[in-house]
Symmetry: C2
Subunit: 229 residues, 2 copies
């Protein structure tokens, strides 16, 4: 039986890892590789395509295919729903709705969400607890022009994130990670001191060019997001 594309890919990767194919050097051409592996050219092509997708080699129209100088390393990070995140920690999850009201969007939010003058927003504040201790403070705005049904929805039992995921499951989003000093209000909810350094993520979500929601998630002191790559 002939060699598989996975075996070809693993063998090329081994040569790169061990330095037989140095960073920046040209890759042998696919026809020659197919001959040396005794396989079809399509098999080599698939292996090369995956190595390019993985950021290990780069294909340039004129310069040919080369081993990358600095391999592109992608982190694949799952975007969890906070309840799932807490359950995966082995803790009991509790949700509380603090506030939910439709109000005119403040100017900073209008700019941020690209809202029009007539757009109204639903402002929600929620708390998420792990084993009874504050875990995450959620401050969310939903664009009521995009999702008018949000205004009638009851968020007292299930948080807006879960509702949004089931209502508008496919969206584009931008997420940012940063540090903030706890405001007095957030410090009170998260049981820490005003000014404490807290990890915060902001997420803006669009559906077909229209902004659906903007959320600030502020985590309890010491929270970390950890990934392997």
């Amino acid at each position: 039986m002939s060699i598989s594309y996975r075996e070809v890919k693993a063998d090329i990767l081994r040569q790169i890892t061990q330095g037989d194919l140095a960073p920046g050097s040209a890759m042998p051409n696919e026809v020659d590789l197919a001959v040396s592996y005794g396989c079809a050219r399509a098999t080599v092509n698939r292996a090369m395509r995956e190595l390019a997708d993985d950021g290990i080699i780069e294909r340039r129209r004129k310069a040919g295919t080369r081993v990358r100088q600095n391999p592109v390393r992608h982190v694949r990070m799952n975007i969890p729903i906070v309840g799932q995140e807490i359950k995966e920690l082995g803790a009991k999850y509790r949700y509380a709705l603090v506030q939910c009201k439709a109000e005119p969007a403040p100017n900073w939010l209008r700019a941020r969400m690209a809202l029009k003058d007539e757009d109204r927003a639903l402002h929600l504040t929620c708390m998420h607890y792990a084993d009874g201790a504050p875990y995450q403070h959620e401050d969310r705005w939903i664009n009521l022009s995009a999702l008018p049904e949000a205004e009638q929805h009851d968020f007292s039992e299930v948080g807006p994130n879960e509702w949004l995921v089931s209502t508008v499951p496919f969206t584009d989003a931008q997420i940012s990670f940063h540090a903030v000093a706890a405001s007095g209000i957030v410090a009170d909810y998260l049981d820490c001191k005003e000014g404490d350094a807290l990890f915060q993520t902001e997420r803006t979500t669009w559906l077909e060019g229209q902004t659906i929601t903007f959320v600030q998630l502020t985590y309890r002191r010491g929270h970390r997001v950890t990934m392997q790559y």
Copy 2:
């Protein structure tokens, strides 16, 4: 000409997005899909495989293929080298080596890097500037048992990250994002106040099971990591 797997994938994705195929519902089988698209079964299979890889559908041995309830969303984030990151901001990059000395690893680091009693570590402190202003403080330890050549290397012109990437290009790593209160020393380097909330990443890098390096990167006030997904 026959329909491509990309067109099949796009059409299925459209049906899921528009709700014709609801979250949790069973996908039609591949043979039926191939008949309805007038294409080879292999074409449908490739489209389905990519949808599964993207976390849109899930394939279970007994339950068959279904539309996922909560699509898995992966962030693909590039791990940049700080000099490239600063140049991409359109700023001038400057590097400074603050300290470089071989010393016994402190206990917390021994545990963290899984060092043996006899292992020595090279401790480096570096600063990275954007247009002359402090951008990132780097506090790095390199395991000299794994990389003895680091002790003789001159890090005064080029930072240890760039050197490591070219010396040990393929590694496993764990990265974490969190917030820290600036220590007096770091505040001094980053030109902020002690206790200010700063964004920090920690990275541990292994090669074939051996820890190569552990680094804490602390960013200037207001730094954000932003991703699309």
